[in-house]
């Protein structure tokens, strides 16, 4: 398959591994931000090929993982209402809320539907005018344009029974939160290629400058990741801290202008809680005043006390790269994909699931 096979070529990949090891004169700690990147790295064992010169820590770029518990409980409560249909991407269905997950809500009679696009959810709304159809709008900047488009269409077409449960988060504020967190050890970032396909990389330039870290926009295949790592290591070795683009076949500096325009028309930034991490200022999106009528949280106000997380789950530390999944005491014992304590063990982009699927065993946490 073109544009895939070339980037999975073993010989090119292994040559890059050699080049990275030759270039690094000391140990560098890098973070790949996106969960899709984490899965490729762990699945192929690339992190182990690069040790000890390169330490890879895994970032918060798993939309399912950082969606707060309270919003998942809210989604489950909406799904159980007889007057509502909850539409979601499939990934969200097995993520544990405080009591149950959406699959259990569905088994208990809730109307939960897996869709592949928010526009499909809009279609569900048009076909079921007697119900309120809520789309669980999860994700980073990558999924925001399509979600914005669905709300825009709903308004244009007068589909009043459509609403979004918005859980959108943004990458740059999360990078800042990691950089300023006590004990941060990340020295360079592989920025998420898909997010930058939408946003471009202008907003990363002040981060690289102000915090003195190299940031390389990187793709998702083994060769992409290794090339991104090599570019980051070269910057570190040469004392540079710039934004560079490895993912040239997809990303340009200004991103996708129409996509950015529709996000801007429908959403505005807001403070948002990240599961396991806490509130990060200006790190989320919410519907603008003109589209507020489509906000599911206003239509179905939250009831009950805020839920609390499992005390054993270290998802927060995993998501900011402070510990690796196999350093968590619950990893692989109390927490498995079948009975997860936290979202990173469930999602196809979660770091804990990546480790478990690759057969990594638990290690004792460093003292």
């Amino acid at each position: 398959m073109r544009f895939v096979d070339e980037y999975r070529d073993d010989r090119i990949a292994l040559a890059l591994v050699d080049e990275i090891r030759r270039t690094a004169t000391r140990t560098w700690t890098l973070m790949e931000v996106c969960g899709g990147q984490t899965h490729t790295l762990i699945r192929q064992g690339i992190d182990e090929l690069l040790e000890p010169e390169i330490q890879l820590v895994h970032g918060p770029g798993c939309p399912v993982c950082v969606t707060p518990l309270a919003l998942i409980d809210e989604a489950i409560a909406i799904a159980k209402r007889p007057d509502a249909i909850l539409c979601s991407f499939g990934d969200m269905l097995r993520v544990p809320g405080s009591q149950e997950d959406l699959l259990m809500a569905r088994a208990a009679g809730g109307d939960v539907r897996v869709v592949y696009s928010p526009l499909d959810a809009l279609e569900v709304a048009r076909r079921n005018p007697e119900k309120t159809v809520v789309f669980f709008a999860v994700g980073f900047e990558t999924t925001a344009p399509a979600n914005a488009m669905a709300v825009r269409q709903a308004k244009l077409l007068g589909v009043e029974n459509f609403a979004l449960l918005v859980a959108h988060v943004l990458v740059p504020p999360a990078i800042v939160a990691i950089l300023v967190s006590p004990g941060n050890r990340v020295q360079g970032f592989l920025a998420p290629g898909h997010v930058c396909a939408v946003q471009g990389w202008r907003e990363y330039e002040p981060l690289a400058r102000d915090y003195g870290v190299p940031i390389v926009v990187t793709g998702f295949e083994p060769v992409d990741l290794l090339e991104g790592i090599l570019m980051t290591v070269r910057q570190l070795e040469e004392g540079r801290h710039e934004v560079e683009n490895q993912y040239v076949r997809t990303v340009v500096r200004d991103g996708n202008a129409p996509a950015r325009a529709v996000i801007d028309e429908v959403f505005e930034t807001c403070d948002r809680a990240w599961r396991g991490i806490g509130v990060i200022p200006k790190s989320g999106l919410r519907l603008r005043e003109a589209y507020r009528a489509f906000d599911a949280e206003l239509r179905f106000p939250r009831e009950g006390a805020p839920a609390s997380e499992s005390e054993l789950c270290m998802a927060g530390e995993v998501l900011i790269g402070r510990v690796k999944p196999d350093e968590c005491p619950a990893y692989g014992t109390l927490c498995t994909p079948e009975s997860p304590l936290g979202a990173p063990m469930v999602s196809s982009e979660g770091a804990c699931a990546a480790y478990f699927l690759a057969g990594r065993r638990r290690v004792e946490a460093p003292a």
Partner: protein
């Protein structure tokens, strides 16, 4: 109603207390994942159904083969049943009717049997267009002709609108196992080679692409077909020890089941597993691993090492096996499956808990 439920409960004869060896989790209910063919399905069968059935379940049920092989009057009969609930009922390349016949025919073929007779039950939802029913039954008839089986008995039921998704089809089948044929899920030995009869993932991706409303360039169609002729050719070419059609849960789940049944380890080569380019492309887009996607016309054969090339050649000479490939080997060790990946790494090919869920981005 008793006035004093407490004493009523106390006086209830002990014989009436339902007991099963493993207590059912209180308040638990069936999840869709219990139908995925993965770990949850196995837990449901092993921990809930088989214990309740107790002595009623013959040793053949616990063997968890594709079909049971029972002996009567000196004849070895293979017997199986299968329910088909696929959504949508019509998908690229086929429909639920052809699937229901081929599925049962293939379950019989996996025991080395020659399929003979089928039954079919149709559960129809009120409002189903008769035209659709006609298309499904026409496909069933064609599939029976192709597999050379007779549909000898059946049943139809109609349920209220909303109680079934258009229609469900249930088929059972009986076949005869010829003398000298010995295949079974527990017969894999270290050193045996693992053959896959065709490209994997085509059926599941065809169904999912229709469900997702995604159209891909190039044809994506279900691989449903009878495997009887292919199996006969392979059995004639050498010592085939195990056969299993890689349906629900895909190749990965089937290899895990067989490793478990035979008490052996297996090592597969990721790059040796045939996958058609449009199927690979679709899996990339939907975030699926083709090794876990369902097939309806692909089987796994575990073959004695000295006969592997001959059996592979026989498979490739048959139209249903032209893309057959040796994908791995049986090795000594605990019942696990490892996958060798491109960069020289190895990762365990585990059985998934439930269904693969399409990812967000």
């Amino acid at each position: 109603m008793s006035e004093d439920p407490g004493s009523d409960a106390e006086e209830r004869p002990r014989d009436f207390v339902l007991q099963c060896p493993v207590p059912l989790p209180p308040g638990a209910s069936v999840l869709l994942g219990h139908g995925s063919g993965g770990k949850l399905t196995h837990q449901l069968i092993r921990d809930v159904l088989v214990p309740i059935l107790g002595d009623v379940a013959g040793s053949e049920l616990a063997r968890l083969g594709d079909a049971a092989v029972v002996e009567t009057d000196g004849l070895r009969l293979a017997f199986t049943t299968d329910a088909f609930v696929v959504t949508p009922a019509f998908f690229p390349g086929s429909n639920i009717g052809e699937l229901a016949v081929n599925g049962t025919v293939n379950d019989l073929a996996m025991m080395g049997a020659r399929p003979l007779f089928l039954s079919a039950a149709l559960i129809l939802e009120e409002g189903l267009p008769l035209e659709d029913l006609g298309l499904v039954v026409t496909a069933m008839a064609e599939a029976c002709r192709r597999a050379k089986v007779a549909l000898v008995t059946g049943d139809t039921k109609v349920v209220e609108r909303g109680s079934a998704d258009g229609l469900f089809v249930i088929t059972s089948g009986v076949g005869l196992v010829p003398d000298g044929v010995e295949v079974g899920p527990e017969r894999a030995r270290p050193g045996d080679r693992i053959i896959v009869s065709g490209p994997v993932g085509s059926h599941g991706v065809a169904v999912m692409s229709r469900r997702a409303g995604i159209e891909f360039e190039g044809e994506l169609s279900s691989d449903t077909r009878p495997l009887t002729g292919l199996v006969r050719a392979m059995l004639a070419a050498g010592d085939v020890r195990v056969l299993r059609d890689a349906t629900r849960g895909g190749l990965a789940s089937v290899l895990n089941e067989l490793a478990e049944s035979s008490g052996v380890s297996m090592v597969a080569e990721e790059k040796a597993v045939p996958v058609l380019p449009p199927v690979r492309a679709a899996c990339e887009m939907l975030g699926l691993d083709p090794l876990y996607v369902a097939n309806e016309g692909v089987c796994v054969a575990i073959v004695a090492p000295e006969d592997a090339e001959a059996v592979l050649a026989a498979a490739r000479a048959h139209p249903a096996g032209e893309h057959a490939a040796i994908v791995g080997e049986v090795v000594e060790g605990p019942p696990k499956v490892a996958l060798r990946t491109g960069l020289g790494g190895t990762r365990p090919l585990i059985m998934l808990a439930g269904d693969q869920l399409p990812r967000i981005c």
